[in-house]
Point group: C2
Amino acid sequence: MLIVLRLGHRLPRDERITTHVCLVARAFGADEIIYSGQKDKGLEKSVKKIVSDWGGNFKIGYTEDPVGLIKEFKEKDFYILHLTMYGFGMEEMKKEKGRNTLIIIGGGKVPSEVYGLADFNISITNQPHSEVAALAITLDRLFKGKELKLEFKGKKRIVPSARGKKLTEF
Amino acid sequence: MLIVLRLGHRLPRDERITTHVCLVARAFGADEIIYSGQKDKGLEKSVKKIVSDWGGNFKIGYTEDPVGLIKEFKEKDFYILHLTMYGFGMEEMKKEKGRNTLIIIGGGKVPSEVYGLADFNISITNQPHSEVAALAITLDRLFKGKELKLEFKGKKRIVPSARGKKLTEF
């Protein structure tokens, strides 16, 4: 089980970035995303529409108490990874094969407790860039590139082609 | 030389996504980004500020004629990669060691000519997700993970730490 927790969603500022975070989580093999901050029905609707059209069992949930939620996941023995530009690189991370994992991604201000609750504060480079990219690279390393080969048996499917666009609908 | 071309920037819709695209391009080792669509002085200013604070020689430019620009790069023998959800996976890509490369990323509607001009239409999964993530994974594969170790000697530098935030200013 791999769950992503997106902290501090802000409207309208984070509307598209959080959508991209959700879609990357789904396309790269996470089971669920939970977000905190401002409740956003449009976000939830568009993620559910993607799942309904493109397949898979990806879920989206919301929490008003992200720190409490992290504590609950710790009690359930989830491995807690926090993506931050201030942490160590992934190569320093202890491998936790087969363990359920919670990946935390910042948004607005990250509560300082999160740094302490995390088993590992990972940085994907120590440069400012994007939580979307940081999540993609983290999932890529955790799944060892196999996430790029996932098959989703959705109503909509792309037929890869050298040039142009081929989309089939079932 | 590795240049990223971001097509069809729309305001205000793409404001933050294009910023993330620029920051990923810089942090993951590209030399320059050129964007088309709506001219955005705020975007240019914030990218220049990041470079001034965090270091490196990354540049941002603008074009009104992206198709013409792609043709110019082809004439200069750049290897033209177009990221699209409709293409083949990277493992099918011909390796072009040491060749200058232009990576094209969509935005609004991508002109159909782009599919024909590209040497390779790559898809990072055939699922809907994010151009930010697609760019990050592509640069990661082209630079074989070395991009995560780049050093930028900027005024602002992070001192990686297990917990908390350490930032030094020179």
